[in-house]
């Protein structure tokens, strides 16, 4: 189809002002937060309601034009990169919180709403929407649903999929369907809600969601513990869980991250420590007090060299600087930053960290690792310069070792950032041919013309 004709058709559906096609505007939607993936779309369209989305998809499907749903474009897997040209479907005009049902503790929210805005909206009612990715202030609900995002509270509270109870989805052929709803229990039919959650825009365009809310925990206790060996830190993590305590947060920083943060921030971190753990338990005040004591005991038993308890919310913020600033400080080291999210069973944490350190040494690349220790979800962060081809080759070799290592330990390529394009090459390694075939069959059934985010997640189909 001619580009001009496509633009004219889009204008008919959503109105002139919601179609962008200047070269500069198109370039602005050629990338996301993933380094090294820039592809020009043909047009950027912002629909304002579900009927418009349906009309756009119907048209695109008939003419086999690729469509890339996009929220805030903060994903780290090239999930929104317009790989094959076509339509960028910008979902940010879906910006309303439609309903807050306090009897069922359900919020009905459009996908363009920023996650933090949902939290701000429900906070006066003593409620929270727990999934809190590092991008909570920028990511759209639609993006987090399609990446099935996690966050700092994942260990105790779970991730996005645990809070999405129902969806409104437009299929590739333009059909509008509703999955799930306000029912806490619902076994009628396949669990389509879970299928679309984490589907990275390859199976349908989500327009609205029913979200489960939970009461805000009454009390918290936070602490930070310093370890001289990785084993001790790893054992402390396992032992805390074995003691039947599920902290809201249990984060780790490795030595490279600690040193980098200290270099930039001068907050007095122990630069010779092998690892730091940051922990928070929350809930009823009595239980929090009890769990805090137990955690302290476990930390001591595992040779924590130093443990500091947060005395006040401000003090906690201060202690958590290390975690908050880990990625920013690593990113400051070099121009390009790859934040990976390979995840292993909790018990394999120490082994995995060793694999990362070895890869960094073997290929002479800079990697700092931090992440959600409680979930086994690590963020080996590789800093480099995309403009240096020779270095990039070494970076890819290091990545290869890391992903293979994770899979060999029974882990997964991605704990929360998604596959997109970045981790495609390793998908078969994890899922096998048969597993890939099953996923491709689902894709072809729902999107026979392969228009939705083609080439991503499962690759060519």
């Amino acid at each position: 189809m001619e580009k001009d004709q496509l633009i004219a058709e889009m204008k008919k559906i959503v109105g002139e002002e919601n179609v962008l096609h200047s070269k500069e505007a198109l370039y602005s939607y050629s990338y996301d937060a993933t380094p090294g993936h820039v592809y020009m779309p043909d047009v950027v369209v912002s629909p304002g309601n579900v009927q418009e989305v349906s009309a756009i998809l119907k048209f695109a499907n008939e003419h086999k034009i690729p469509v890339y749903p996009r929220g805030s474009g903060t994903n780290l897997s090239a999930g929104t990169a317009p790989l094959k040209g076509g339509i960028v479907l910008l979902m940010l005009r879906f910006n309303k919180i439609l309903d807050l049902d306090l009897e069922n503790l359900i919020a009905e929210v459009e996908v363009g709403v920023v996650v933090q805005d949902i939290n701000d909206y429900v906070a006066p009612h003593g409620l929270i929407y727990p999934p809190d990715p590092g991008t909570v202030k920028t990511a759209s609900l639609g993006g987090t649903i399609n990446e099935n995002s996690g966050g700092l509270r994942g260990l105790k509270y779970g991730i996005t999929k645990n809070y999405v109870q129902g969806l409104e989805v437009v299929l590739a052929n333009g059909d509008i369907i509703h999955t799930g709803g306000k029912n806490v229990k619902d076994v009628s039919g396949y669990d389509m809600t879970k299928l679309f959650t984490g589907s990275e825009g390859t199976l349908g365009v989500v327009t609205k969601a029913y979200l489960k809310l939970v009461p805000k925990p009454e009390a918290q206790a936070s602490m930070i513990a310093v370890f001289n060996t990785l084993e001790d830190a790893g054992n402390a993590v396992s032992d805390i869980i074995a003691a039947k305590i599920i902290p809201a947060t249990m984060e780790i920083l490795d030595n490279a991250s600690i040193r980098t943060v200290e270099d930039f921030m001068h907050v007095g971190l122990p630069t010779d420590a092998a690892a730091i753990l940051l922990l928070e338990v929350d809930g009823h005040p009595v239980i929090v007090a009890d769990e805090k004591e137990k955690v302290l005991e476990v930390l001591k038993k595992n040779n924590a060299a130093e443990v500091t308890l947060a005395k006040s919310p401000e003090h906690k913020e201060q202690l958590w600087t290390a975690r908050r600033m880990a990625l920013p400080c690593l990113a400051k080291l070099r121009p390009t930053t790859f934040v990976e999210d390979a995840t292993v069973p909790r018990s394999k944490l120490t082994q995995f960290l060793r694999i990362v350190t070895k890869a960094a040494k073997d290929y002479n690349v800079t990697i700092g690792t931090f992440g959600h220790a409680g979930d086994g979800n690590m963020h080996p962060t590789i800093v480099c310069d995309l403009r240096d081809e020779e270095e990039m080759e070494r970076v890819h070799k290091a990545m290869d070792d890391i992903f293979r290592g994770a899979v060999e330990l029974g882990g997964t390529l991605s704990g929360e950032h998604g596959i997109g394009l970045g981790k495609l090459p390793w998908m078969e390694l994890q899922h096998g041919k048969e597993g890939m075939n099953a996923m491709k069959a689902i894709k072809r059934a729902l999107d026979p013309n392969l228009i939705l985010n083609p080439g991503k997640l499962i690759g060519e189909c």
Partner: protein, 437 residues
């Protein structure tokens, strides 16, 4: 033709214009964090409105994927220079400054747009500039032509006790510097203080300027008002016309070098920041940079000066009003002065100080941004007005004449009762009331 210029050559040429910021641009890791605070992005939610988008566009020029076009220019124009992105950027990218570099490249590549050109050549010629301003010519051009709603130019110039609903035309009958002698003497002066008025205070909000002079003299300072001082150059600098802005900076440096003074005080966050930034502007000319540094060392924002050198609090009259404060972008993220104006306000008896939500969020003025993008800057400002409304304040304080004008406009449009002042005006009024007792 042998010497025909090809598109490729144009691209190559455009790329050279940004070459020296290649590394600075590459430091942006495209995380998108800047979306959270950018006042423009919050309204448009378009990628090219946010710092990440503009940085990417500049990189596209650098790599020859795009050339400098009118569209590129208009995207670079979508920035209030409010520095929110830079203050919150995990990678320490100073996007606001890089965007100015983008504007600079546009000017180099294509020349200034003709209307701007006229205005800027006026700006760089001080006597002409002053005359035109005096006749209302320039602000007339700025206000009437570009602001669709005539109401928008109704700006109130209220003094405490005056009917707050009285709307006045924006230009003062007599510019501030024509009202006063070049030196305002006091007995046994504590300090000799030169007052950099800035244009908005000189030509429009002379009440702010008078308050500054009153407060300075009240505290035993001799005030010097150099007549030949010029606009600080900010509007020219932020448009990317760096060479012209530098000429204006040099002029001001020369003017202030002529006076022996202990301090140079300004009452507009943007002007003060500019004076402090002159050494950076002139970094390529070491001699000038050194002279600029000598000036910059003496520069203080008025509340900063008062808190640093001490001010009288024993003879203050009560102002029984609820007061809230807006932190102008260049006060909070430019020169980092936020505590001093609060300290001054809180020291005035009777004032009930209430903090507004998002007090450090841009009001949407952004100098000439509000003129070129009135609708958008109005939307940004409506948010500010909502936050003001929630405080139930009588007065809103802002240490910047542009904010004062823009917030006042918002208050008029939203039919709200508040009056906007510079904090120093309340201090001056309090001294006055103290004497009436």
């Amino acid at each position: 033709m042998a010497n025909e210029i090809t598109a490729e050559e144009i691209n190559k040429h455009d790329a050279t214009l940004l070459k020296d910021i290649d590394d600075a641009l590459a430091n942006c890791m495209k995380c998108g964090n800047c979306q959270a605070g950018c006042p423009i992005y919050r309204e448009t939610r378009k990628e090219f409105s946010v710092a990440r988008g503009k940085i990417s566009l500049m990189q596209a020029i650098l790599s020859g994927k795009l050339e400098i076009t009118k569209e590129f220019d208009s995207m670079m124009a979508q920035c209030l220079t409010c520095k929110t992105c830079a203050a919150n950027c995990p990678c320490g990218v100073k996007a606001d400054e890089l965007i100015l570099r983008g504007r600079h490249a546009t000017i180099k590549a294509r020349g200034l747009n003709p209307i701007k050109k006229t205005v800027f050549s006026l700006l760089s010629n001080r006597p002409l500039f002053n005359t035109v301003l005096r006749m209302g010519g320039m602000f007339g051009w700025l206000t009437f032509k570009d602001i669709p709603d005539k109401n928008a130019v109704l700006s109130r110039l209220p003094m405490p006790g005056m009917d707050p609903n009285r709307a006045t035309a924006p230009l003062a009958a007599t510019p501030l510097r024509s009202e006063f002698p070049p030196v305002i003497k006091v007995d046994n002066p504590k300090h000799k203080v030169a007052f950099f008025t800035g244009c908005t205070i000189n030509f429009m909000y002379t009440d702010m300027g008078k308050a500054v002079i009153d407060v300075l003299t009240e505290n035993g300072n001799e005030v010097i008002l150099p007549g030949a001082q010029h606009c600080c150059g900010t509007p020219v600098h932020v448009s990317g016309a760096f060479e012209l802005a530098n000429e204006m900076a040099k002029h001001n440096i020369e003017v202030f070098e002529r006076f022996e003074c202990d301090y140079i005080v300004g009452a507009c966050g943007s002007c003060v920041e500019a004076l402090k930034d002159y050494p950076k502007w002139l970094a390529d000319e070491p001699d000038w940079a050194a002279r600029a540094q000598a000036i910059a060392d003496k520069v203080r924002e008025i509340s900063q000066f008062l808190v640093e050198t001490g001010y009288k609090t024993d003879n203050l009259g009560a102002i029984n009003k609820t007061v809230t404060m807006h932190d102008p972008c260049h006060m909070v993220r430019g020169i980092h002065v936020t505590e001093q104006p609060r300290e001054i306000l809180k020291s005035i008896p009777g004032i009930n100080f209430v903090e507004m939500k998002e007090h450090d969020r841009c009001c949407g003025s952004g100098g000439s941004f509000s003129l070129a993008h009135y609708e958008l800057s109005r939307q940004i400002n409506d948010r500010k007005c909502e936050n003001i409304k929630a405080t139930n304040a009588d007065y809103v304080c802002a240490s910047c004449p542009s904010c004062r004008m823009h917030i006042t406009d918002g208050i008029v449009q939203n039919k709200m009762p508040q009056v906007v002042y510079h904090p120093i005006q309340l201090l001056a009024e309090s001294y006055k009331l103290g004497k009436q007792k």
